[in-house]
Structure formats: structure tokens, C-alpha cells
Amino acid sequence: MIEVSQLTKLYGDFAAVSELSFTVQPGQLLGLVGPNGAGKTTCLRCLAGIIPATRGTLRLAGYDLATDPIAAKRHLAFFADEPRLFEYLTVAQHLAFVARIYGVKDAEVRAPCLLEELELSDKRDSLPGELSRGMKQKVALACGLIHSPTVILFDEPLTGLDPLAIRRTKETIRRLARDGASVIISSHLLHLLEEICTHILVVKRGVRAAFGSLQEVREQFAHGDSGVDLEEVFMRIATQGDKPPPLLPLPPPDSAGPPPLT
């Protein structure tokens, strides 16, 4: 379970995230969306313990991240958009390393299963430099899952993956939630979030613009329209309260007109 209460992160005088509160129950999949610079990554990095929150309370699996960070992080897996792997460790050595850090007792059983499941068995003795980007993502996934986390954070998980890998990653994310993990996915791929998420949190300029189940968020911003999808919701939230951007002046019409297509 993820509980965020009044999360605020200041960079000097600038509030990247301000008074943000939400909860993700076990089994729920929360899609974190917002325009560029809205504070999504800052929020995720605070939740992952990478950067300290200026104010607010973050509880992961019941543990306060500020007062009991080690216990909280034992239940956490954070997947950055760019997989972070050690240059000189093979795939199998990565798993052994992470297993020791997290104290995974049954790592010797779990590691081969994970490698098998992620189709990495034949790459177990390969270095990251010998792997494609998709493969590296899979290694990062294996490392993140070896300790059976109950709090999982994904930052743009599908970047750079081929359609097959996208399909498999989506299935993996769904399975993790089904198994009882609380999952947050930050992504700009709204159709992906609409497809797999149970809940949506829209952040704009560091504050919560919308939060609830997918249906609730849709209804909240439907304004009487039927069949409003997440993209439309996002557009309405993103442009709410903003002046429409000025239109670029059109070039003077060419008297000769456009050349005919041949």
C-alpha cells in the first residue's frame, strides 16, 4: 500500500510538488499523468527515496519512508525509464547482488524462474553491454522483482520497447497488481494507462488536478459529454485555466495557389 499525505518538494522557492495526497491500495494500478514539468518524476523520486520530500508523509507498505527508510525500501521496486545496470556484472551476478542487498532467502530458486519468465535464461552470463535496450529493461525488471516487492513504481516503462516487449511488460504489470502489489505508472502513453490502470492521478503544476478511479475521473471531467476518454480528460485538465496559446499568423495566400499534385 502506498500512502502519500501532503507531499511537498521545494527546489529553492519553486514548488515542484505541492500538498499532494493520494493512496494506492494493494492490487490497484495508479496511472500518474500530467503535462511536462508537472512534478510526476519528482513525485516518483520522492516515493522511491531518491530525493527527500520537503514536507509531507510517505508510507510504503505501512512503513514511513522518512523514519524507517530501510524497512520501506525492502518492499519497494523502482523502475526508471533508463535501466541502471552495472557494467561489469553479468545478468546472473546482477540478480545475486540485488538478492543479497534485499536479503532474499530463496534467491537461488527465484532467480532462475525469473530469468526463465523474462526469457533471459540464455543471457545469464552476458554483460549489460551485450544486451539490447529491451533486454536491459528485462534485466532491470528481474532485479526489481526478485524480492517480491509490494510497492512498485514505473517511470515511463515502455520507452524504447518493441511491440512484443510492450505487450509482455503490460502483462507483467497487470500480473504484479493481481498478485497484490500497489503499482504506480508514470507515463505519457494515455491509451496504455487507460488500458491497464484502475486509478488515475493527474498532476498539474505540482498539485493534484484529479484523482480517483478511471471512471470517476472520466465522469468528473465529462461535463455532460458521453464517451470522454482519458486523452480528452487530460486535455481538459491541461488547458483548464490557461489562456489559449496565440495562433501563429498564416502566411499570405499565394495567388498562384499550391502546385497540383502529380
Binding site: K9, Y11, T42, R45, A48, G49, I50, I51, P52, P69, I70, A71, K73, R74, L76, A77, F78, A80, R84, F86, E87, Y88, L89, T90, Q93, A96, F97, V98, A99, R100, I101, Y102, G103, V104, K105, D106, A107, E108, D125, S126, L127, G129
Partner: protein
């Protein structure tokens, strides 16, 4: 888009980039730790460099306005110097023909190419853009060369010297560019690289041969090989001022004359012809209509790939690709997580027990060989020297151990955001960082001490008494790891307290003046810390040693080692607590 517009855009790009970089660094100084570093760095630069640069830039040094080297020379010596410098420039330029690749490639960055190639800019304008952008680097190089030469040879007016250097460097870079264009055109017309290189070498041999031939005929006419330095100098002067040299080296002499000018007037006279040569080179390059774009794209892509590769591998560009390295030991999934870090470091350090077993085997074989060799008496005399080699190695190994620890910490801090998501306490992180370097160093020291013992042991005469032979390694191996950690504490503390230095190559503006200041502070602090922390260790060790001597030297060494080690490790434990807190306090969002 005309050339002037592009040059204006270039000026805007460079000036804005410089200003923004400066602004980011100044913003970093809001943190007192970087501000202190900047102040010390500024003072260091002023004392070591600034006062010479600022003093020499506006006022002639030592009252001599001319070239520091040439000013003190007579006419003959100056002509000799001019001939030698011209010969150097000639061979440097010849190298551009011999060593050039088959395709000319103007060095653009990927970003420059992405913006400039699709833009409505002619090829000639692109070349001019590149030439203009090179000037900043040339001016900086001129300044550095002037400073280096000025520090070595006092005297000379800075502006004249910088101007002289600039003429030579600009000519070399223009010529290298022009030569690469011609080489590409010739290659496209079927000239093979080996033929071009052979022709280049032949030209080199021809010019060099002509100069040597003329010199040889001169000294043969004057009665044989000169026997004194003055005679050699006179011969050199003759060789460069008569015969083929003045003709062969004519244009190159024009280029180096401003650099050798001894007064403002001489410089003014010399700069005209030099600028004419430069103008000729510029026209040559400017009129070259060679399709360099594809090669430039390829070059920029390769370079970007290498940087990206090095960045992802946290290595410098040009480092070899990694290979699989077996683990030093099997890592169990349960236990202290710090061991995992040490295990990882030992893999990165290529530490393998097998290699140490091999090294020990070599020592054993060498020691046995000395015993059983037919000329055992001669070899026996080498025994002492042979024992010194592993002893010396064991003594310098702590230095490498400290370097290993510091390097690992710096590399791991580049992935601090990754580590921060792990359930690792700061103290576990620090202990893990120390363990790898200390463990590998101690293992190597053990092997070396075994080597010392094997060489020092002899049936008839023991080189070193047994108590010392065993006591010293035991004492050193007890205190040694502590000493390595003690030496590593400050560099590690610096890395943890100033992580922006480590991340700067990837994301930030790079270490600035404050980094130099921090290094100065670090060096001084290292000395002070080492001295202060070793005083109680030494006092306790000496006390225990004297106490132990009442029993036996064996006991004395063991007690000295144990007493010193106890104090040392207590100090280190305190330091690890502090360093762990420093790791916990790292806020990556503040380190830009």
C-alpha cells in the same frame, strides 16, 4: 543565409553557452561548501597562474618586450631558432598529409549537425562557421602555450607572444583542414592511402635529406664532424641560412617569425607576410568544394556513441569494452548487504584468488630455483635484492588500495539514485565501499609478504631474524587495512560531501574553479587528518611495544600492532558513522 549571419549565430551560441555555464556554476556557489572551494581555488589560481597572466598581459615582463627566448640571442642564434621552428612546422604539416584519413571530416557535434545541415547554409558557410568556432580554442591554446613558455622563459610581451602562437596554430589547423579536403578528393579519384603516405614520406625524406646533405657537405668542407656545442650551433646556422633550406622552408619561416619577434616593430613587420600565408591557406580551404557532410555525420555519431557508451559504463571515452569477470567468491543471498558491494567491487577490480595462488607459485618456484640452481652462490647473493621486490610492492599497495576505494565510490555515486532506492543504510554503503579495496589490497600484501619470507629464508643464513620476519607482517596486516581506510576517509568524504563533482560530467556543468579549491583543501586536510589521527595510534603502539619488549620482540610487535589497531579502528568506526550520515544526507536534487 550569409556567412555574417552564421557567424553572429555562432557568437550568440558561444557567448550564451559560456554565460549559462558560468551562471550555473555561480548558482552552485550558494552552497557554502562550494563557495569555500571557489574562494580557495581562486586564490590558488591567482597565486600560481593569475598574477603571471594578468601581469604579463598588459605589461612586458622583465623589461624585455620581445620573445623571451629570442630576446637574449644574437642574430645567428635567432636565425638558427627560426630555421628549427620552421622545420618543425614543415614536418607537422607534412604529417597532416601522411596521417590524414581517406575522408575529410569537419568536427561538428551531433547537435551542431542536427541544426546546421538541414539549415539553408552553403557548404562554404559551414566551413567558415567551423573556422570561426575554432578560433576560441586556438586563442585559449595560444594563451596556455604562452603561459607555459612564459613560465619557463621569463620575459616577453604577452599580447605579442599570444599573437605569435595564434599565427602558428591557426596555420596548422587551416592546413590540416585543407590537406584533409585534398586527400579526400584524391582518394575519390583513386589514390590509395598507402601511395599517398609513401609520397608524403618521400617528400619528408627529400626535404630532410636535402637539409642533411647540405649540412654534411658543409661540415666536410669545414674539416669534419664538429666537436663542440658552439661548432654544432654554427653548423646549424649555416645549414639553415644557406643552400636549399631558405627556399624549402621559406613559407614556414614567415609563419614563425611573429612568434620570434623581439620587439613590437619586428612583430609588426613579421605579421604582414605571416597573415598573407594565412590568407592563402584560408582561401585554399574556403574554395575547397568537398562533400564532408557525410563523413562529419559519421564522425559525430561515432563520437557521440563513444561518449554515450563511456557515460553508461561510467568510464572515460576510449576505455576498452568490458569483458565477463568471474566473481572472487560465491555470494550468499543472506547476510550483510555491505558484502554485496564488496563482492561487486572485487569483480570490477578483476580480483581473483586464483591469480594470487599463481603469484605465490611464482615466488615459490623462484625461491626454490635460487636454492637448486648450479650457480647457487651467485644467485644466493641476489636473494636480498629479490626479497626487496615483493617488500616494496607490499609497501606501495596501500596507495593503490586507497585509489581503488576512491574510484569505486566516485563511480557508485554516479548511480546514487539507483542505490538510494535500495534498503541500504549509509554505513553499510560506506563499509561496502571500503571492504572491496581493503580486501583486495590485503590479499595482495599477504602474497607479497609470503614472497619476502620465501626469499629471506635460507637454511644457512637467515637474512631477517625470525621475530621480525613474522612480526612485521602480522603487525602490518593488522594495522594495514586500518591505514588504507584512514587514507581513504577524506577522499571518500569529499566524494560524499561534493557529489556534484562526480555527476558533473554527465548532467551538470562540470567541476569549476571550486573543484580546484576543494582539491587544495582536501590535500591540506588529508595531511592534517593523517597526522592528528596517527598521533594517538603511534603513542599507544610505542607504549605497547615497550611493554611487550619486557617479554620478547614477538610479543612487542603483536602488542604494538594490536594496541595501534584498536585505536585506529575506533577512529575509523567514528569516521564510518560520519560518512554514512553524509551518504544518507545526499540530496541528488540539490547537486546540480
Amino acid at each position: 543565409m550569409n556567412t555574417w549571419s552564421v557567424i553572429q549565430a555562432l557568437f550568440f551560441l558561444q557567448s550564451r553557452s559560456l554565460w549559462n555555464r558560468l551562471r550555473t556554476r555561480i548558482r552552485r556557489l550558494r552552497q557554502p561548501k562550494y563557495l569555500v572551494g571557489a574562494v580557495v581555488g581562486l586564490a590558488y589560481f591567482y597565486i600560481y597562474v593569475g598574477r603571471f597572466v594578468l601581469g604579463g598581459l598588459f605589461f612586458p615582463r622583465s623589461g624585455t618586450p620581445g620573445s623571451p627566448m629570442a630576446a637574449g640571442f644574437d642574430l645567428n642564434q635567432r636565425q638558427l631558432l627560426e630555421g628549427m621552428a620552421a622545420t618543425g612546422v614543415f614536418f607537422f604539416m607534412l604529417g597532416a598529409w601522411v596521417f590524414a584519413g581517406p575522408r575529410s571530416a569537419l568536427a561538428f557535434t551531433e547537435t551542431e549537425l542536427a541544426h546546421l545541415l538541414p539549415a539553408p547554409i552553403s557548404r562554404r558557410t559551414l566551413i567558415r562557421y567551423k573556422l570561426a568556432s575554432l578560433q576560441t580554442g586556438l586563442l585559449i591554446s595560444s594563451l596556455v602555450l604562452w603561459f607555459l613558455a612564459g613560465r619557463l622563459l621569463a620575459g616577453g610581451h604577452a599580447l605579442l607572444r599570444i599573437g605569435g602562437w595564434w599565427v602558428v596554430l591557426a596555420a596548422l589547423s587551416l592546413h590540416a583542414l585543407g590537406a584533409s579536403f585534398v586527400v579526400q578528393r584524391l582518394t575519390e579519384r583513386g589514390l590509395s592511402s598507402w601511395l599517398r603516405r609513401t609520397l608524403g614520406c618521400l617528400v619528408g625524406f627529400a626535404v630532410g635529406g636535402a637539409l642533411v646533405w647540405w649540412s654534411r657537405s658543409t661540415f666536410l668542407a669545414e674539416g669534419g664532424i664538429p666537436s663542440s656545442f658552439d661548432a654544432w650551433r654554427s653548423l646549424g646556422h649555416h645549414a639553415f641560412t644557406s643552400g636549399p633550406a631558405p627556399w624549402l622552408l621559406g613559407p614556414f619561416r614567415l609563419l614563425v617569425r611573429p612568434w620570434l619577434a623581439t620587439s613590437g616593430t619586428e612583430f609588426a613587420i613579421a605579421i604582414g607576410p605571416a597573415l598573407l600565408v594565412l590568407a592563402g591557406l584560408f582561401l585554399w580551404v574556403d574554395r575547397s568544394d568537398v562533400a564532408f557532410e557525410e563523413a562529419s555525420l559519421e564522425r559525430a555519431r561515432r563520437w557521440a556513441d563513444r561518449i554515450a557508451d563511456a557515460s553508461s559504463r561510467q568510464h572515460r571515452v576510449g576505455m576498452p569494452k568490458p569483458t565477463v569477470r568471474p566473481a572472487a567468491f560465491s555470494l550468499r543471498p543472506e547476510g550483510n548487504p555491505a558484502v554485496a558491494l564488496a563482492w561487486k567491487h572485487l569483480i570490477e577490480l578483476r580480483f581473483r584468488p586464483r591469480n594470487h595462488a599463481i603469484a605465490m607459485g611464482v615466488f615459490v618456484l623462484a625461491a626454490v630455483g635460487i636454492r637448486v640452481a648450479p650457480d647457487a652462490e651467485i644467485l644466493e647473493s641476489l636473494r636480498n635484492s629479490a626479497a626487496l621486490l615483493p617488500l616494496g610492492m607490499a609497501c606501495i599497495m596501500p596507495i593503490f588500495g586507497v585509489m581503488e576505494i576512491t574510484t569505486r565510490v566516485r563511480q557508485d555515486l554516479r548511480m546514487v539514485d539507483h542505490y538510494k532506492t535500495m534498503p541500504l543504510t549509509g554505513q553499510q554503503f560506506v563499509v561496502g565501499e571500503f571492504l572491496g579495496g581493503v580486501g583486495s589490497t590485503v590479499c595482495r600484501q599477504v602474497v607479497c609478504f609470503i614472497g619476502v619470507a620465501l626469499f629471506a629464508m635460507a637454511p644457512d643464513s637467515l637474512v631477517v631474524p625470525w621475530p621480525i620476519l613474522l612480526g612485521v607482517p602480522v603487525a602490518l596486516l593488522t594495522v594495514g587495512p586500518g591505514l588504507i581506510m584512514l587514507l581513504a576517509i577524506l577522499p571518500v568524504a569529499a566524494a560524499l560531501l561534493f557529489p556534484a563533482w562526480m555527476q558533473s560530467t554527465k548532467d551538470g556543468p562540470g567541476p569549476g574553479l571550486e573543484a580546484t579549491g576543494q582539491r587544495v583543501i582536501l590535500a591540506v586536510a588529508q595531511l592534517i587528518t593523517l597526522s592528528v589521527s596517527l598521533i594517538p595510534v603511534a603513542l599507544v603502539s610505542v607504549g605497547m611495544f615497550w611493554l611487550g619488549l619486557l617479554v620478547s620482540p614477538w610479543v612487542a610487535f603483536v602488542l604494538a600492532g594490536a594496541g595501534g589497531a584498536a585505536i585506529l579502528y575506533a577512529e575509523i568506526a567514528v569516521a564510518i558513522v560520519f560518512l554514512g550520515k553524509a551518504y544518507d544526507a545526499i540530496d541528488v536534487s540539490q547537486e546540480q
